[in-house]
């Protein structure tokens, strides 16, 4: 039985906390990696990921299963948000890049957010019993508003994507979703909530020319997204039953060859039924030029011979290292009661599924400044060493992950990254300020 993110007891009043930024310097990232927030987010991601593998009973083939009421309601929420995109026209005139009308869009969303949440979330979630004056909606609102890019910087990256994952996970924790039957509810969450969310974000990116937050150009995995590569590769994995462990190699016989990412016809054919190819399709939409040149990381990954499950496992590891462990990405994440910055008492114990079990220990955080939300402050002032030592349930040889930095997605405009001072690759080249921290 797969591990699940636990649901709060609705019989017990909960103390909600107005979410606040807690990651202010590089060292805080290492605290984050042993926090209960980190545990819950990774747990929920692994739970969703597992649910996307095909089932031997063919259950997953039914793409639009009868949805739980929570999922229909969330679809209503996303439709309402999508309508705001249509409602806010572009600002005329010349713009350096992003269109400033996005700020209006965001303002409208902000103004409507409480009402939208009240209208579209299950009552049990909205009225979750609480002890102090703060209701669940305060926490939910913070994650929802963090999900659609930065109004100030007119950009979108994996930090915003992470915020939406937390939003959905919050609803899960508050018991908003139906009890899962062999992953059916999770699968429905991915296909009927996360995928429409991604569609809205793509629409926002195209309409308002949002910059990729923290872009590494061709050297990132993707300019904006990460989750669809995880969830979409799982869709092509070998079929499982509820008692199987999550596969780490092999593919479904129906899956296309990973090399199909360079073939326009395969991409066109697969992009509507698979999240991985959906993301690749968006790259095709926005980028001109040979795929191997503008997306060398995805191109290299398409040469993995051990199947989609292998790619899936790699994506999870990479997400952990390149998104969750990067200061510029996670620094804006707000922590409340549902995702608490407090230490996870079991952090050193294996609390992950088999997937997460084989994470390499990270000796160093290297070049951060990746994917996702770029820093708005001088991040180098907050350097730390050994920021990203994460709990590795099984002993694995220690290895630096960052030195083969491939795949971090990322602004058209450069922000200063955080670099760990003690990355072995750079010892002879230490920057003068590296001793700080």
């Amino acid at each position: 039985m797969a591990t699940q993110l636990s649901v709060l007891d609705p019989g017990k009043p909960h103390v909600f906390i107005e979410p606040a930024k807690r990651i202010n310097e590089g060292q805080d990232v290492s605290r984050f990696l042993v926090s209960s927030a980190y545990r819950d987010i990774t747990l929920f991601l692994v739970q969703l990921n597992r649910a996307m593998f095909p089932r031997k009973d063919g259950l997953e083939a039914v793409a639009h299963m009868p949805e739980s009421s929570a999922i229909s309601k969330l679809q209503g929420l996303l439709k309402a948000i999508d309508k705001v995109v249509d409602d806010v026209p572009l600002d005329p005139g010349t713009h350096r890049f992003g269109n400033t009308a996005f700020r209006k869009w965001y303002q409208v969303l902000e103004e409507r957010s409480l009402q939208l949440l009240k209208d579209h979330l299950p009552e049990t979630v909205i009225d979750f019993p609480h002890e102090n004056g703060i209701a669940s909606i305060q926490e939910l609102k913070a994650y929802l508003l963090g999900s659609f890019g930065s109004a100030q910087r007119l950009d979108y990256g994996t930090g915003h994507e992470l915020s939406f994952l937390a939003f959905v996970a919050s609803i899960w924790k508050l018991g908003g979703f139906a009890p899962s039957n062999e992953g059916s509810e999770e699968r429905s969450i991915v296909l009927n909530v996360i995928e429409p969310y991604l569609a809205i974000v793509r629409k926002l990116i195209l309409k308002y020319s949002l910059e990729p937050a923290g872009s590494h150009g061709v050297w990132g995995l993707d300019d904006h997204f990460f989750l669809p590569y995880i969830l979409g590769s799982a869709q092509y994995g070998p079929a499982i039953t509820d008692s199987d462990s999550t596969p780490i190699e092999g593919s479904s016989p129906r899956a296309p060859d990973p090399g199909g990412v360079v073939k326009a016809n395969i991409v066109a054919q697969e992009r509507h039924g698979n999240l991985y190819f959906g993301a690749i399709g968006f790259i095709y939409d926005v980028k001109k030029g040979p795929f191997w040149e503008h997306s060398p990381t995805l191109f290299d990954i398409s040469g993995v011979r051990a199947g989609w499950a292998k790619i899936n496992k790699g994506m999870l590891k990479m997400y952990n290292a390149e998104v969750l462990s990067k200061f510029p990405v996670v620094q804006h994440f707000p922590f409340g009661s549902l995702f608490s910055f407090e230490g996870d008492t079991e952090a050193q114990e294996p609390v992950f599924s088999v997937h997460m079990a084989s994470q390499p220990r990270q000796e160093n955080s290297t070049s951060s400044g990746t994917d996702g939300i770029p820093s708005t402050m001088a991040p180098w002032a907050r350097n730390s060493s050994n920021t990203t030592r994460m709990p590795a349930p099984t002993a694995l040889p220690t290895r630096s992950v960052g030195s083969n930095v491939i795949g971090r997605s990322n602004p058209i405009e450069t922000r200063l990254p955080v670099v760990s001072p003690n990355d072995s690759a750079f010892v002879p080249m230490k920057a003068p300020w590296a001793k700080k921290g």
Partner: protein, 445 residues
């Protein structure tokens, strides 16, 4: 020399050169660059270029549009590397040309010419991928430390010499060549003039939206110049005209100004041979951005500052400059003049990151030949003998000095021929079980 020419030929063909040659090249380049001041003096005519970011094919297109080295005198304002797929080829080609024709090409440092930034934004990864080790990255980073921080272009002309242009023969009515008063001219990649603006006369208005947006109908008297240049320009019509032929000195820097730098001389005093610091004058020069604010502001980049029109005008006046040319920010039209043409952003990476849909531009400044080519004016040292206190008392003149004639050549991304696909490289460790596996895989393929 022949080795160098061979390397240039290789690099022009977008092929990397062996590591030992890179080492030798970088050594020679450092010997050359160490002799340059922090602010290089460059004589007009010169073609000023902005960010390249490893877009090799577009760099070749730039040379096609602007003329080849050494026929054209070039000044590149940094950000050669990162983000694009061909940072190595692009930077090494520029470096080879620098070593081969030191007087015909000037390279100054951008914020991406830094160890810290290149480890994050791609150049480091690219070196590992293409050479299998970080050595080439190390050699290049050593060169970065020697790159000048800015340049000052002297001997520019207020006039734009006519270039043979197709539009001259086509005789487009609106674009009939003017006399000597052309201040700004825009050409496309096919050498066709697409816009031209003169100093003395009210401009031909190319973009009606620009006119309506900048001329308040309620005000009968124009207190400020009508900005009737095309989108992206701040070209004004009421400079005093061709009172002289000298366009004044142009300061070129990657990012912008610094609150710590009042005079060009203060830049000359910096110790530049180091990694780009996180703060201070050197950092600001490479990181700052102009913005529609008063005075100085915090930069959302986390380094450098934002600075407003008054800062630029003050700086230009105190240093007897007519223009600041900088790069550092993507602009959709390839160039953007701001603050009554006291500063311009030049961006030379078309369709940036394969997706931004922008065009690129280069800026040509002509040579003032009226004094037989001698340079009679400022080198940015104005007021030096008066001491620093003199600057506090200087008043801005009512009219800024006439700037140089500016010819922008605008070009789009180079059409690329699909020459098949390269072999897939071994993927990152995330996708491997162990190193043994990786080796096994390599052999399989």
């Amino acid at each position: 020399m022949s080795n160098l020419d061979k390397a240039i030929a290789e690099l022009r063909a977008c092929r990397i050169i062996p590591e030992n040659e890179v080492r030798e090249l970088c050594f020679k380049a450092r010997e050359l660059l160490i002799e340059e001041g922090n602010v290089v003096q460059v004589d007009a005519p010169v073609t000023i270029c902005g960010d390249i970011h490893g877009q090799f094919h577009d760099l070749i297109e730039l040379f096609r549009v602007g003329g080849d080295v050494p026929d054209t005198n070039y000044l590149f304002m940094g950000d050669f590397v990162d983000r694009g797929f061909y940072s190595i080829e692009s930077f090494l080609l520029l470096l080879c040309l620098k070593v081969r024709y030191p007087d015909r090409i000037t390279l100054i440092r951008g914020n991406h010419e830094s160890r810290q930034i290149t480890t994050v934004y791609g150049f480091y990864d690219e070196c590992l991928r293409k050479y299998g080790s970080a050595n080439v990255w190390r050699y290049c980073c050593e060169v970065f430390d020697y790159l000048a921080l800015g340049a000052i272009v002297l001997g520019t002309s207020t006039r734009l010499e006519r270039v043979p242009s197709i539009s001259d023969t086509q005789q487009t009515e609106d674009l009939t060549p003017t006399e000597d008063d052309t201040e700004l001219e825009i050409l496309n990649a096919d050498n066709v003039i697409t816009a031209r603006f003169s100093r003395n006369r009210r401009r031909q208005v190319m973009d009606p939206t620009e006119l309506t947006s900048s001329s308040p109908s309620s005000s009968p008297i124009q207190s400020t110049p009508i900005r009737n240049g095309p989108a992206g320009t701040g070209a004004t019509s009421d400079s005093n005209g061709s009172i002289g032929n000298n366009g004044g000195a142009v300061f070129c820097v990657h990012g912008g100004l610094s609150p710590l730098v009042e005079t060009i001389d203060m830049i000359r005093l910096l110790d530049r041979k180091q990694e780009v610091p996180h703060e201070g004058a050197m950092c600001d020069l490479l990181w700052s951005d102009p913005d529609d604010i008063e005075g100085w502001g915090l930069s959302p980049r986390g380094a450098g500052f934002l600075f407003g029109a008054n800062i630029v005008k003050r700086f230009n006046h105190f240093n007897d400059l007519s223009l600041v040319a900088r790069a550092h920010q993507l602009v959709m039209e390839g160039f953007k003049e701001m603050f009554d043409s006291s500063i311009v952003t030049v961006w030379s990476a078309p369709n940036y990151c394969y997706r931004c849909g922008n065009v690129a531009a280069i800026l040509e400044l002509g040579e003032d030949t009226s004094n037989g080519g001698t340079i009679a004016r400022s080198n940015g040292d104005v007021g030096r003998s008066l001491g620093d206190s003199a600057f506090q008392n200087l008043q801005l003149p009512a009219e800024p000095r006439p700037g140089p004639g500016r010819r922008y050549r605008v070009f789009a991304a180079a059409p690329q021929d699909y020459k098949g696909m390269p072999a897939k490289k071994p993927v990152a460790d995330y996708f491997l079980v162990s190193r043994f596996c990786r080796l096994g895989k390599k052999r399989q393929r």
